[in-house]
């Protein structure tokens, strides 16, 4: 069996969605290295951005992003979710989106539908508030996060056009992701 990436593959042969627990992201290997537990409503750090690496073996069309709102949405806070190249260049994002619906999943359209080539990227998540407003994994710690090349950037809401990756000092991994579907779920 050959292992070079296929450059042409129909969308419906790729997963419906990819999230931070996906095989192509860091979820399983983080569990092997840390005491990761189910996501719960968690207080964020205002304007902090977290960048989580993922790897695509096939082209993938990004249509929407999603995350899970926490229990407290005073304001409401704004969330920005996007995809970055390994050099920090932002490829696509939702733009700042007012959170709506406590403790529920929220979907937001990408600013433009993006077709990603096979390769390595970062899923960036940023939130404007210091509230229990995002579902994040429990039991994570910064050492394993750094081992997985999960980075952070402060003062990064909305997400910057070019990220400056720094070693994370905040044990926060949001449950979030993206999908090639334009509706549903």
């Amino acid at each position: 069996m050959s292992f070079w990436p296929q450059v042409s593959i129909p969308d419906d042969d790729t997963p419906l969605l990819i999230n931070t627990s996906s095989f192509w992201c860091t979820g399983l290997s983080m569990k092997m290295m840390d005491a990761t537990t189910a996501p719960v409503s968690t207080a964020w750090v205002a304007n902090l951005a977290i960048f989580i690496p993922f790897n695509l073996p096939w082209p993938y069309t990004v249509s929407r992003f999603f995350w899970v709102n926490g229990a407290t949405l005073t304001g409401p806070p704004n969330t920005d979710v996007g995809i970055f190249a390994v050099d920090g260049r932002k490829i696509v994002s939702t733009g700042n989106t007012a959170q709506s619906g406590a403790s529920t999943i929220q979907f937001a359209n990408a600013s433009t539908t993006a077709r990603l080539a096979p390769g390595r990227y970062y899923l960036g998540y940023s939130n404007s508030a210091t509230l229990a407003d995002t579902f994040c994994y429990g039991g994570v710690s910064v050492g394993p996060m750094a081992s997985h090349q999960i980075f952070q950037q402060t003062s990064a809401n909305p997400l910057p056009s070019s990220a400056t990756f720094a070693r994370t000092s905040n044990a926060l991994i949001p449950f979030c992701g993206f999908t090639r579907t334009s509706s549903g779920f």
């Binding site: 419906l16 627990s21 095989f23 983080m30 990761t36 189910a38 449950f175 779920f185």
Partner: protein
Amino acid sequence: MADWPSYFPPEASGILSTAGPESVVAQYTASIGTDFATARAHGANIAHYVPVIVELQITIYQMSIIIGAQAGNVDVGIYNEGGTRLVSAGSTAAGAAGIQVFDVTDTILSPGCYYLTLVASTATTLTILAANPTATIIRGCGQRQQASALPLPSTATFAANAQGITPLINAHFTGATV
């Protein structure tokens, strides 16, 4: 043979499973250290559509679930991404505790996304092995549902998942008959 990288080579067990690496829900449960090993009640007549990835063409010839406590009826089936039912067992009396096997019409699955699906007729007395992530997280793994769906419909009407449960459903494609 496909020319793209295979991340989910055909399992030695010869099954496509909601608990296998081809299932996004199972990827999530593995990432937090939980499993499908507990028998749980499912909402009455609610179809649970659990997405899985098929990377190589396979032919399904049986499906199975694992009963905890016997009661009522069940139906299992496979849907394509668009919601068309490809095969199902039909409403069947739940078996005794242990594995229940359904001989289904041999069905070819080409590479793509499918839904392994189960519906049970009772809310409390029938239990089936399942995982129990929160409903919101399961939505973020692509699982969907449909009410009043026994027997499984020929065309799914997908609704947002509100169930905190993912049944263990296996679709057998190689090996000896179970």
